[in-house]
Structures are given as structure tokens and as C-alpha cells.
């Protein structure tokens, strides 16, 4: 019983990482209608930025959130206006998709050249600290990751519900054409949601750096994991994406515990396929959305 609870807790904490990535993916998908395959590579890149801030100027990773996230947001805006500005207007989504693929190649291999292929991890003074209750051991850093995920999902949620730009973003993910007719600058809306998506990649990057070891190849798998989480949770809902991520984390940990580590991927992608086939709107998504997509 105790070990099962431990597996569940580990799953929830691992899943919160997927959740942040999926929330970013969901925002970008909502407005631009592309799978931003470079999301994972961006996350790894920001993890390396966090790593450098820690190693070179010894800034605490949680403090570096204040630098990394605004930086990520600006990177997102810059990328959008240099690369995706024309492509989002096109009917043909291949173009945006392939730009994302090109970006993924570029970032992955630039990371390889700058930081080499050695896996890195942060050696923080308090990384060993664990919380023990009812015989369960939970690392404070992983718990902080869950907190980070909840806080960032909350911030994005409030932004989407309470601000004018947020409302425009929601409108654009319902129907981009109609948004234009309402006089909303659809380009700016896409730019904002893209930048927030990349900002969330910054959060996930810092989270990744604090807990896991990472290398340049980690990105692609991470993108796909985020996609699985997104499909599970349903598109168009930040907390749905987070919940999907947590669910995926639980599924993976259960699979590792009961089936074996080598088969984790089969189980999670199998669930992904089943969800796509039988439950295309996801667990928490709205039903109508899929038909329009």
C-alpha cells in the first residue's frame, strides 16, 4: 500500500512537468493550430540557461525564474515575429509545422555544440531535502515543481479569464476568422499566446533543471510527452492540460512499477493512441472543439 502511494505521488510530481509543457503547447495550438514540436527543445534550452545562471553566476534556480521566464517570453515574441508572422496567416499548416521542426533541429544541435552531449544536472545545496510523512518520502524540489505548475497554470488561467487580451486569445482559439471580423488584431493575439507558451517552456525548463538531469536529445521526447498529456487532458483548457500531464505521470509511474521500465513508452503512447481514437476530445476538453479542428 505504502509503495503504491509512493508510486502515485512520484507520478503526480513527474506529471506536473508534462503538465506545464502541455499547457504551453495547448495555448500555441489553440491559436496557431500547429503542434509546436520545438517546445521540448525550448524547454531543454531554458534548462541550460538556468544551469548556466547557476554555474557561472551562482543564481539560485528558483530566483532565476525571475530572469528565465521574462527572457523566455521575449524569445517567444521574437521568434514569432521573425519566423511565424507570415506562416500563421497561411491555410497550409505544413509551413508552420516545418518551421517548428527546423527550429527544433537548430536548437537541439546548437545546444549540442555549446554545452556538448554530457547530461547535466544542478547540484543545489538543498537538493537532498525530503519531506517524510506517513512513511512516504517526497523531495521538496519535486513538490516545488508541482507548486510551480499549479501557480503558472493559475496565472495563465486568470490571464485568459480576466484580461482583454486573454479574452481575445480565448476567442481566437474558438474561431480565428470570426476574431478578425470582430476587429481583433489576430496577429498580436497569436504572438501573445505563442510568447506565453514559450514562457511556460521557461518555467518547465527551470523545473527540469532543478530535479532531473538533461541533455540535448531530451527535447523531442519531451515534446511528444507534452502532446500525449495534451491529448489526454483535452485541448483548450489550461487546467485540463495540467491534469492530463499529471495523469500521464501517474500512468508512466504505474507502468514502470507493474510492467517494467522498458515498457513505459509503449504504455504511454498506447494510451495516447487509444485516447485519440476513442476519446478525441480528451478527458476534460469541450466536445465541440474537435469537430472544428
Amino acid at each position: 500500500m505504502g509503495s503504491l502511494a509512493q508510486v502515485l505521488i512520484n507520478g503526480i510530481l513527474l506529471g506536473s512537468m508534462y503538465g506545464i509543457a502541455a499547457a504551453g503547447l495547448s495555448l500555441i495550438f489553440g491559436t496557431m493550430r500547429i503542434i509546436f514540436l520545438a517546445q521540448g527543445a525550448m524547454i531543454v534550452f531554458f534548462a541550460f540557461v538556468c544551469y548556466w545562471l547557476f554555474v557561472k553566476v551562482s543564481i539560485d534556480p528558483y530566483l532565476s525564474l525571475l530572469i528565465v521566464v521574462p527572457f523566455a517570453f521575449l524569445v517567444g515574441l521574437g521568434l514569432f515575429y521573425t519566423l511565424f508572422r507570415k506562416a500563421v496567416a497561411l491555410e497550409d499548416k505544413n509551413v508552420s509545422l516545418l518551421i517548428a521542426v527546423g527550429l527544433m533541429y537548430l536548437i537541439e544541435n546548437a545546444i549540442l555544440k555549446v554545452w556538448s552531449a554530457t547530461p547535466r544536472g544542478l547540484d543545489i545545496s538543498y537538493s537532498g531535502a525530503t519531506l517524510v510523512f506517513w512513511g512516504l518520502r517526497v523531495s521538496w524540489l519535486r513538490l516545488a515543481l508541482l507548486g510551480l505548475a499549479l501557480v503558472s497554470a493559475g496565472v495563465v488561467f486568470v490571464f485568459l479569464k480576466k484580461t482583454r487580451v486573454g479574452t481575445a486569445v480565448r476567442a481566437a482559439s474558438e474561431d480565428l476568422e470570426a476574431t478578425k471580423l470582430q476587429g481583433i488584431n489576430s496577429l498580436w493575439v497569436c504572438a501573445i499566446s505563442f510568447a506565453i507558451g514559450i514562457g511556460l517552456a521557461g518555467v518547465a525548463g527551470v523545473g527540469l533543471a532543478t530535479v532531473y538531469s538533461f541533455d540535448y536529445q531530451f527535447g523531442f521526447v519531451f515534446s511528444i510527452k507534452a502532446l500525449v498529456a495534451l491529448a489526454l487532458g483535452g485541448i483548450g483548457n489550461v487546467f485540463g492540460a495540467l491534469a492530463g500531464g499529471i495523469l500521464l505521470g501517474i500512468i508512466e509511474n504505474l507502468a514502470a512499477y507493474y510492467v517494467g521500465i522498458a515498457w513505459i513508452e509503449i504504455v504511454s503512447y498506447g494510451v495516447f493512441m487509444l485516447v485519440l481514437i476513442f476519446l478525441p476530445q480528451g478527458l476534460f476538453g469541450r466536445r465541440g472543439l474537435v469537430k472544428k479542428v
Partner: protein
């Protein structure tokens, strides 16, 4: 090929393209007689262009003509290579094995069966992006299955096929070159025949407007699955031939992202939904990758990333799109007003 073009409506452009293609094919076919493709690097280069081009031509059928973005071609490629390798290694069909036509056909059939199994539910229930998601997931599953296949697939090391080479047969790239060229021509002919027949009309109707196609009596699912399966078969046969070149098929060789993204890039650079586009793209992209690897080794994947982005930014319609700018034809990929 040229006869069909003449017998149809008189299309000068088509005739020119058919002529150019015929000259190119004849030149490439007789090239090994005065150039040693086995020793010269250019032979390997052309062989790999053919292999990439076959996969690209398949993706062109499903992604270009039918408009269904498949992100699972690397799975079909690898499955084809493994079908060939495992049937050979475990001595299943008791036939010739080294460039065995039966094995090459089977290495196309297996991926096609998988495509029908996966494609039918994915293409019937869902549209557009979900097909791309699903094929991506399928690719990951197939890769991990072969990695975890234990003794049967050889796991990460794969199976060593060199020991299984028949007595007295010398490994000469000339064979690979000709077989790949033959399959490349056949693949292009298949796409040509499919797209100029009723099937092609149906596929294009589906790409332009699925609902409208269905309401005009096109069996949408049947044609989408057909295109997907034919594309899978092409990737699989290419994988089988590539397996004969590697002689050690490992998951990291045949399931890599390169077999997924390079063919797509080739089609898009050449021109989606055109017959010759994939070949122009295959030649140019592979030439770039090849020379970048020679002169700036290590930086070449960065270079390919930059190339993908630049092509998408400045030439989204592809090279064939430049040549075919006719008035009245909606130029696909140009910015919407």
C-alpha cells in the same frame, strides 16, 4: 509516360517534364557503366537520394495530394527494413534473400498493413491534426517495440546480416543503385497513375474540401486509407533496400527522425502535390546535407535546421511552385490576403 501526356489534353509543359525525366532516368541508369558507383562517393550519394526520394514520393501522395499530414513515415521505413532483415535472419521464406524480390515486396506489404490498421480508425474519426498526432504516436510505439524486441529483433544492436550473405556474392553498390533507381521510377509511376486517374481526382477533392468531396459521393475514408497505405508501402520498400545497404539494421539507424523529417522537407522544398517536386527536393536537400557534412562537420544538423526555416519563410510553395505560377490557379502556400 510521355504517351499518356500527349494523348490527353495537349500540355506542352507536361511533355517537357516527361522528356526531362526520361533523359534523367536513362542517364542515371547507364551511369554505372562509365562511373564506378561502388568506389566513387557520388554513387553512395545518388543511392541515398533515391532512397530518400522514394520515401518523399510516398509522403507526397498522402501529405501533398491528399493533404493528410503523416508524421509516421520513419516507422514505415524502419518496419520495412526490419521486415527484410528479420525474414532473412530467421530464414523464414527459404528464398534467395540477398535482393530477394519477395522480401522487398513483403517489406512494402507489412507497413501497408500497419497503415491500414492504424489509419482506418485515425482517419475515420478524426481530422487533420489528430492524424498527425496519431501517426507520431504510432512511430514511437513501433520504435520502442523493436528496441524491446529482445532476441527476436536484436534490441538496440539489431541483427548482423553480413554473416548471412550468400556464398560468392560480392557486396557491390551497383546492385543497390539499380534496384533503388528502379523502385524510384516505379514509385513515381504509381503516384503518376494514381493521381491522373479517378483516384487522383478523389484525393485532390479530399484535400480541398473533405465535406464537399463526401457530399459528391467520394468515399473519403477509403481513399485516405489507400493513399496512406501506398505511402507506407513505398517507405517500407525503401527501408528494405536501405537494409541491404546497411547489412545491420538497428532501431537507431532506421527509425531516426531523419527518415521522418527529411522526406517531408524534400517534398515541401520541391513542391507539395507535384510529381517531380519530391525528386528536385530530394536531390537538393541531400546535396546540402552531404556537402555540409563534408565541409562543416558537426554543424550540419544546425545547418539543415536553418535551411528548413529559410525555405519555409521565403519559398513555402516550393521550387515547382515557382515554375507553375499560372494565372487563375490558386498558388498554394502564398500568403492569404
Amino acid at each position: 509516360m510521355s504517351l499518356r501526356a500527349v494523348s490527353g489534353t495537349f500540355a506542352r509543359r507536361k511533355l517537357i517534364w516527361a522528356g526531362l525525366a526520361a533523359v534523367a532516368v536513362v542517364f542515371l541508369a547507364i551511369l554505372p557503366f562509365f562511373y564506378d558507383v561502388h568506389k566513387g562517393q557520388f554513387g553512395v550519394f545518388l543511392f541515398l537520394v533515391f532512397i530518400y526520394g522514394i520515401v518523399a514520393q510516398g509522403w507526397n501522395l498522402v501529405g501533398g495530394y491528399t493533404g493528410q499530414i503523416s508524421l509516421g513515415q520513419n516507422a514505415f521505413f524502419g518496419l520495412g527494413a526490419f521486415t527484410m532483415a528479420l525474414l532473412w535472419f530467421w530464414d523464414v521464406t527459404k528464398t534467395g534473400y540477398y535482393f530477394d524480390p519477395l522480401l522487398l515486396v513483403l517489406s512494402g506489404v507489412t507497413p501497408a498493413i500497419l497503415a491500414v490498421l492504424v489509419g482506418t480508425p485515425l482517419l475515420s474519426r478524426l481530422r487533420g491534426d489528430y492524424f498527425a498526432f496519431g501517426t507520431l504516436g504510432m512511430g514511437m510505439i513501433v520504435t520502442v517495440l523493436f528496441l524491446n524486441g529482445g532476441d527476436f529483433t536484436g534490441g538496440a544492436e539489431g541483427k548482423l546480416l553480413i554473416k548471412k550473405m550468400p556464398e560468392g556474392v560480392v557486396f557491390n553498390l551497383r546492385t543497390h543503385y539499380w534496384v533503388a533507381l528502379l523502385v524510384a521510377v516505379l514509385a513515381t509511376l504509381v503516384v503518376y497513375i494514381l493521381t491522373t486517374s479517378r483516384v487522383g481526382l478523389a484525393l485532390r477533392a479530399i484535400r480541398e474540401d473533405e465535406v464537399s468531396a463526401a457530399s459528391h459521393g467520394v468515399h473519403v475514408l477509403k481513399y485516405k486509407v489507400l493513399a496512406f497505405a501506398v505511402a507506407a508501402a513505398m517507405a517500407g520498400v525503401a527501408g528494405g533496400i536501405y537494409g541491404y545497404y546497411l547489412l545491420q539494421v538497428t532501431p537507431s539507424n532506421v527509425f531516426t527522425q531523419n527518415w521522418l523529417f527529411y522526406p517531408i522537407l524534400m517534398v515541401v522544398l520541391g513542391g507539395t502535390g507535384t510529381l517531380m517536386g519530391p525528386w528536385i527536393g530530394a536531390f537538393l536537400i541531400y546535396a546540402m546535407a552531404w556537402y555540409a557534412d563534408l565541409y562543416i562537420p558537426g554543424y550540419h544538423p544546425i545547418f539543415s535546421g536553418v535551411i528548413i526555416i529559410l525555405v519555409m519563410l521565403f519559398l513555402p510553395g516550393g521550387i515547382m511552385g515557382l515554375a507553375e505560377k499560372r494565372p487563375g490557379r490558386r498558388s498554394r502556400g502564398s500568403a492569404a490576403p
